[in-house]
Structure formats: C-alpha cells, structure tokens
C-alpha cells in the first residue's frame, strides 16, 4: 500500500491551532505596542480567518469524500496531491520573486511603504499557491 502523509490527530490539530493563536497574539501585541494599530487588527483578523479555515479543512478531511485541499491539511493526501502541492509551492515562489522585483522597482521610483511592499509579496504567494493548487489538482 502507498503510504499517505502521516494523518494528523485531533490533539495535534488543537495544538497547532493554539500555537497559531499564540503567535498571532504575540505579533498583534507587538504591533499594537509599536503603535501600528491597523496592522495589529489585520494580524488578528487574518490570523483568525487562517486558523478557522485550516481547522474547517482539517475537520472535513476526517470525513469520506474530502476534497484534495482538506486531505492535504489533514495529512491524508496521496502522492499525486502532494506532487501538485509541491508544484503550487514552486509557482508561489516564482510569483513572490516577481512581486518582490516589482515592489523593489516601485519602491525605488515612488516611495512605497515597507509594510505595503511586504503585504504585496505575501499575498502574491498566498493567492498563487492556493489558486494554482485548486486548478492543478483538478486538471492533473
């Protein structure tokens, strides 16, 4: 039998969610203390959405007929889905590199806030990874 990635336990998922919440809380507190209130709010909302989405996919992965996205999060993805995830990660890396070049050029020509530049690069990676995975896993 082909071994899938190690299935994650409910306790493991709970620990992951708790650790994620803790990291978000620390980052939001640091941002708040530094006076970046809107940045802190973004961390809280973004972190909450990310953790809730991940937990929802994890719970879905424990039921039969789960989509590839849920199986990947739940640790039950097979070799094809893991390969697609790796390709999506590679696409995301290229997209982030391209975004970094664009951000560097824009920053050099017009003064762009560092925070905005980082956000553009991060979102380029996030959307490329999730979008590419969703498309490739259904086409391949």
């Amino acid at each position: 039998m082909i071994q899938p990635t190690k299935t994650k336990s409910l306790a493991g998922a709970a620990i992951g969610a708790a650790a994620g919440t803790l990291v978000c809380a620390i980052l939001a507190s640091a941002a708040w203390a530094a006076g970046n209130n809107s940045f802190a709010t973004g961390i809280v909302f973004g972190g909450a959405v990310g953790i809730a989405g991940t937990l929802a996919l994890f719970l879905r992965s424990r039921k039969s007929g789960a989509p590839a996205e849920a199986r990947l999060i739940g640790g039950t993805a097979d070799e094809r889905e893991r390969r697609v995830a790796m390709r999506a990660g590679a696409f995301a890396a290229v997209a982030m590199f391209a975004a970094a070049v664009v951000v560097a050029m824009v920053t050099a020509i017009w003064s762009l806030q560092a925070m905005a530049g980082i956000a553009i690069i991060m979102y380029a990676g996030l959307f490329t990874a999730t979008g590419t995975f969703a498309v490739l896993v259904r086409r391949n």
Partner: protein
C-alpha cells in the same frame, strides 16, 4: 502514457473509489491515472501491478516513446 488500469478495474468489478482505497490513494488519483493525466510513481505502479496480478509492462504502455 497509455494504460489498461480502467479495463482491469472494470473487469474486476471495482469502482475507482474501491480501487483507490485498496491502494491508499484517492478516487481522483485513480481517475487521473486511467485517463492518462497522471503517471504514477514506481511504488504505486508496482502496487497496481501487484493488485491486478500482472507486470508493470502489461499495465502501462509507453509506445509513444518507443521507435
């Protein structure tokens, strides 16, 4: 790559989901293999061959690469 997975599976009276469960892969992966969209890894190809009691050469045909 052309393969006879679908023919052998249907001859065995199995669904894609049942075959996938037997081999530890998803139904979608079995479908992708059958339609030639995905070439399985060597371990999975061996598992398929073992499951259908045949050789990998009997299961997969790379005639497109042979002159």
């Amino acid at each position: 790559m052309i393969n006879s997975v679908r023919a052998l599976r249907e001859a065995s009276g199995l669904s894609q989901a049942a075959l996938g469960e037997s081999l530890g892969v998803s139904r979608q992966t079995i479908n992708s293999i059958e339609t030639g969209k995905y070439d399985p890894s060597l371990p999975l190809a061996f598992s398929l061959a073992r499951f259908f009691s045949c050789t990998i050469e009997e299961l997969f045909n790379d005639s497109a690469n042979q002159d």
